[in-house]
């Protein structure tokens, strides 16, 4: 067993789990160390929308007591975690980064949260996100953006930038995410952390505030591939409350991460993902990673997925269509924000709904509701929603063809490293292009992972490599991810996050 670092927040989740199991450290100590770290640095990073100090300590104490009583506990029992604010937490505020749900206290836990609680992971708090998970930067959060610990003037990715920045700033060893078009993988890429979007249906969606039901998938976020696998095993599995949940055991992700073996695997480089529009430094780190995989014994071939070029267009019809309907429930009638229209004496329910939705939703949410409402309208349905579904089928076919030849596919996760806050806020298309490489997996329901590939030469910022596998073969992500991670860490001489600037010093906040 490796010794724990003096600063418990620098330890991996698996090291913490081992130490907790061995009794060399208590969950209360580990949890308190993270709460202290949050108090010290979150003012700079703004990863959390809500910190549940009392709840986290109470859960930690309970796990410690159960352990002392000799109960058999899960692998991650006692390791604290941050939960994306899109997952309902009983008794703890859940806002989805929106004013619409400010002050709402859910009366129930998401299935994922129930599983975390049952597995004994103290929940530190809720992480920031683009409003209702719409965005790639957290700049669309109604509560202000999170910042990238590598450069506080830059975005931490989105929508799960709260969770990625939590990990990169050591404010939690693990976090949950949701990925509708890249919201786990792109934030992981730009912060040098790890994130997996499991196979659609691999993790329950019950209690995830829906963005686009047919695309949304919750998944694990960590700093190492093994940590991510351990969390994946806790979060995953069948849930009778979610009709689209897969009725099968969680794939053997932890075993795959521990074996870290790619010998004899056939790896396909997606020709359409990585050309024009990809930053040279991102591309260079990707090519090196592919070369490393070859050195590790994998066979690498180029694979074409010709319909991927239509993925973004199809995605921006399907997502807004479903979102326009999913977000209709926010109407001020039962919960959340209620705004009365100005200058109306005796407003009708309809007028209150309109005033509330006008005041409560941010511009990106409104943009997508309008897009989706239009795409589903009678007379336009076939041309927009209908055509998008056909493209979706073609993309799934591209994956099927590719997986006939190779075991996994790889590409850069995002075309660029983290951009500056404000750079793309006024240009939705530029923002949407961040997800060009991640969206196909959501459309086809196949699993994907991002791990750090290194730092781009031109800006010294993290880049990520994406690994994609066939549906239900999530373990392959971990075989490839863990093997590549080990080789890269070896080359770097230590975890890449060790190179990130120190936080906690006011001077580190540029322009502060």
């Amino acid at each position: 067993m490796t010794d724990l670092p003096t600063d418990l927040t620098r330890a991996t989740a698996s090291a913490l789990a081992d130490a907790l199991a061995a009794g060399t450290v208590s969950s209360v100590e580990v949890t308190q160390a993270h709460l202290d770290r949050i108090a010290a640095v979150d003012g700079q990073v703004h990863s959390y929308l809500h910190v549940d100090t009392e709840g986290a300590i109470a859960q930690a104490r309970e796990v410690d007591e159960r352990r002392r009583a000799g109960e058999s506990l899960g692998a991650l029992a006692g390791v604290p975690i941050a939960v994306k604010d899109v997952m309902t937490t009983k008794g703890v505020p859940t806002t989805c980064g929106s004013k619409m749900l400010e002050g709402w206290i859910p009366p129930y836990d998401a299935t994922v949260v129930t599983k975390l609680r049952e597995a004994g992971l103290p929940i530190l708090g809720k992480t920031n996100m683009d409003e209702f998970a719409m965005g790639s930067s957290t700049e669309h959060s109604a509560y202000g953006p999170s910042r990238n610990p590598w450069d506080l003037e830059r975005i931490p990715g989105g929508s799960g930038g709260g969770s990625s920045s939590v990990l990169a700033s050591f404010q939690a060893p693990l976090a949950t995410g949701t990925d509708t078009g890249g919201s786990i993988r792109q934030p992981a890429a730009v912060t040098a952390t790890v994130g997996t979007k499991p196979t659609y249906g691999g993790v329950s969606r019950y209690g995830l505030v829906a963005l686009a039901s047919s695309l949304d998938q919750a998944g694990p976020c960590g700093r190492t591939v093994l940590d991510t696998a351990l969390l994946h095993a806790v979060m995953g599995g069948h849930d009778p409350m979610d009709s689209t949940s897969i009725d099968a055991p969680v794939p053997p992700v932890v075993e795959a991460a521990r074996a870290a073996d790619v010998k004899g695997m056939r790896i396909g480089v997606v020709k359409e993902l990585g050309g024009e529009g990809y930053q040279p430094g991102v591309r260079a780190r990707f090519d090196e990673s592919v070369a490393l995989l070859q050195e590790l014994g994998a066979e690498v071939v180029e694979v074409s997925c010709p319909n991927f070029e239509y993925a973004l267009a199809a995605y921006y019809l399907i997502l807004p269509s479903e979102a326009s309907s999913n977000l209709a429930k926010f109407d001020a009638m039962r919960y959340g924000l209620r705004v009365l229209p100005e200058g109306v004496d005796d407003p009708s329910a309809e007028q209150v709904m309109a005033a509330t939705r006008d005041a409560g939703f941010g511009p990106e949410v409104k943009r997508r509701i309008i897009l989706g409402t239009y795409a589903l309208s009678s007379g336009y349905y076939d041309a927009y929603y209908g055509s998008a579904q056909k493209v979706r089928a073609l993309i799934a076919q591209d994956f099927d063809n590719a997986y006939g030849r190779v075991d996994v596919l790889v590409s850069p996760t995002a075309p660029t490293t983290a951009f500056k806050l404000g750079d793309k806020l006024e240009d939705p298309m530029a923002m949407y292009l961040n997800d060009i490489a991640t969206i196909p997996a959501n459309l086809a329901g196949v699993p994907g992972m991002s791990i750090p590939s290194g730092l781009a030469d031109e800006d010294g910022l993290p880049a990520g490599i994406q690994i994609l596998a066939p549906a239900t073969k999530d373990e392959r992500l971990y075989s490839v991810g863990a093997a590549l991670e080990a080789a890269l860490v070896d080359r770097w001489g230590g975890p890449i996050l060790d190179r990130a600037p120190a936080l906690g010093d006011a001077a580190a906040v540029k322009g502060a």
Partner: protein, 515 residues
């Protein structure tokens, strides 16, 4: 905006001389499954408002639906009973519109892929004519919550001070049964409409899938009506070739009688407009039970675009053929066929059977016969006082009898008391009054009221002698063979005996003494 004033209407017969009516009926049926369509909340009627709710049926953020398998089975059974094809694969769809009683602001329904389609139901009219109603589809959906508008005169949203919403009903499984355009009924259209809804109600009750209580809203009917120019006999090719006119949809017609009245009213209203050179506005209409008219609701031309799309939170419903055939095996006897069988078993004339059916007493009589009464007696007692009182209370007889605790076993017991000679008819009627008044079982009532035929032949004979002596003229007529004159003497004997005599025995004695 609704108009308060009544519209012009044309005399019905005149309307029928000029126009041919076409109807389309949409019937919503709440299934009486134990739980709701997409969650585990109880689906019972009448609980405290908002006591049967959960994150799913309240549409809380993050909650997801799961299909109630029992509801799907009920939908398939209904489809089979309506002679429909059952889809091998179908999906739910979202019907998007904003309304406070709809928690998600979309209704999970079915759109272009219904579970059952292309069926028919043969409907028998009062005179025995059979009309075939073609069924377009039967699909599954969830009910909405129930809005209660407080203040204002009409109980409608306009003019109300505030509104309350009860979400207990939200998510109750509904089956919507839609007919194809019903042509060829001619002047009998209103009657056909009523007979169809009535037959459908019988069928659903026999399937035991719904309470089918129109007054509680577990069965609701929307009636579409349009007129086209008269071009011959209603079923003639010339008439059927005339294109359909513009329709109106009259919502929430919630009793059998109202179905007939509302269709008839709309026919007369359309006729007046068309005859005056006007055109029909495609709109929804509200039926007013009290005044017997409809008023304008929502104009269809600015109806909302529901933006249907397949429900992504649910997987397709794909019933196996084995399941469908197994469910077909659970179908009850068709109510119409069953009625024919019962009529033959009971030896009723067509007219007698129709009376029983119209009184809604088929099941009661069946149970009464099973409890030992003769079919004739069962009919006589049920269609007598209980039926008369139920009508006076505007209730169906089953509900009325259940409310008073009057059971088929009681009627059979009453009949037994007559057959055994303990009671005569008039005494039995008094006993029934007692039972209806809650005084107990027939035997208990008879005991308590001291009702019992005098079995003492000596007393009867004395009374007969006394009456013959007092009526020599009548006695002479009987001696001359005019036996019908005995009735007058029997009446007096009964009077002597204070009603507690067996009239049959009295007649026997009188005839024996005078012949």
């Amino acid at each position: 905006m609704s108009t308060a004033t009544a519209d012009a209407v044309m005399d019905y017969d005149e309307a029928m001389a000029k126009f041919d009516p076409v109807m389309g009926l949409e019937v919503h049926v709440e299934l009486h499954t134990a739980t709701k369509m997409f969650c585990g909340c109880p689906a019972e009627f009448g609980a405290e408002p908002n006591s049967q709710v959960c994150p799913v049926c309240l549409g809380l953020p993050g909650a997801l639906p799961v299909v109630n398998e029992k509801a799907v089975e009920s939908a398939i059974r209904i489809g089979l009973a309506l002679n429909c094809e059952i889809a091998e694969w179908c999906r739910f769809a979202r019907k998007n519109y904003f309304y406070p009683d709809m928690p998600k602001n979309f209704q999970t329904s079915q759109y272009d892929e219904p579970i059952a389609y292309n069926g028919h139901l043969d409907v028998e009219l009062e005179d025995g004519t059979v009309y075939r109603v073609e069924i377009e589809r039967a699909h599954m959906e969830e009910d909405t919550g129930k809005s209660l508008h407080i203040g204002g005169a009409t109980g409608r949203i306009h003019g109300a001070d505030h509104s309350l919403v009860d979400y207990n009903r939200a998510g109750i499984p509904l089956i919507e049964i839609v007919t194809k355009p019903m042509t060829g009924a001619g002047e009998r259209a209103p009657e056909v409409a009523k007979a169809y809804v009535s037959a459908l109600r019988d069928l659903l009750r026999a399937l035991d899938v719904s309470d089918v209580k129109m007054e509680q809203g577990s069965m609701r009917c929307d009636a579409n009506v349009s007129l086209r120019a008269k071009a011959g006999d209603p079923t003639s090719p010339e008439q059927l070739a005339v294109p359909l006119g513009t329709r109106t949809e009259t919502k929430n017609v919630n009793s059998l009688r109202s179905v007939e009245r509302a269709v008839r009213y709309e026919i007369s209203r359309h006729a007046a407009i068309l005859d005056g050179g006007g055109s029909i506005l495609q709109e929804t209409r509200h039926w007013h039970e009290d005044t017997g008219i409809t008023t304008s609701g929502r104009v269809k031309s600015d109806a909302e675009d529901y933006r249907y799309f397949p429900e992504p939170d649910l997987v397709p419903v794909a019933p196996t053929r084995e399941l469908v055939e197994a469910l077909r095996g659970t179908l009850p006897e068709n109510p119409a066929a069953r009625r024919k069988r019962l009529q033959s078993d009971w030896g009723y004339s067509d007219l007698e059977m129709r009376d029983v059916v119209n009184a809604g007493a088929v099941e009661l009589i069946e149970q009464t016969v099973a409890a030992g009464a003769s079919a004739g007696a069962a009919k006589k007692w049920w269609l007598g006082e209980p039926s008369r009182r139920a009508n006076a209370e505007a209730q169906d007889i089953v509900t009325y009898a259940a409310g008073l605790g009057l059971t088929p076993a009681h009627i059979a017991e009453l009949d037994g008391l007559v057959v055994s000679g303990r009671l005569n008819d008039s005494m039995a009627r008094q006993v029934l009054d007692g039972v209806l008044a809650g005084e107990g079982t027939p035997t208990a009532v008879a005991d308590a009221r001291g009702l019992e035929l005098v079995q003492d032949d000596g007393a009867l004979e004395a009374a007969v002698d006394k009456v013959i002596e007092a009526n020599p003229d009548v006695a002479a007529k009987i001696r001359d063979g005019k036996l019908q004159a005995a009735g007058a003497l029997i009446g007096q004997v009964m009077k002597e005996m204070k009603g507690q005599a067996d009239a049959g025995k009295a007649r026997e004695l009188i005839l024996a003494k005078l012949q």
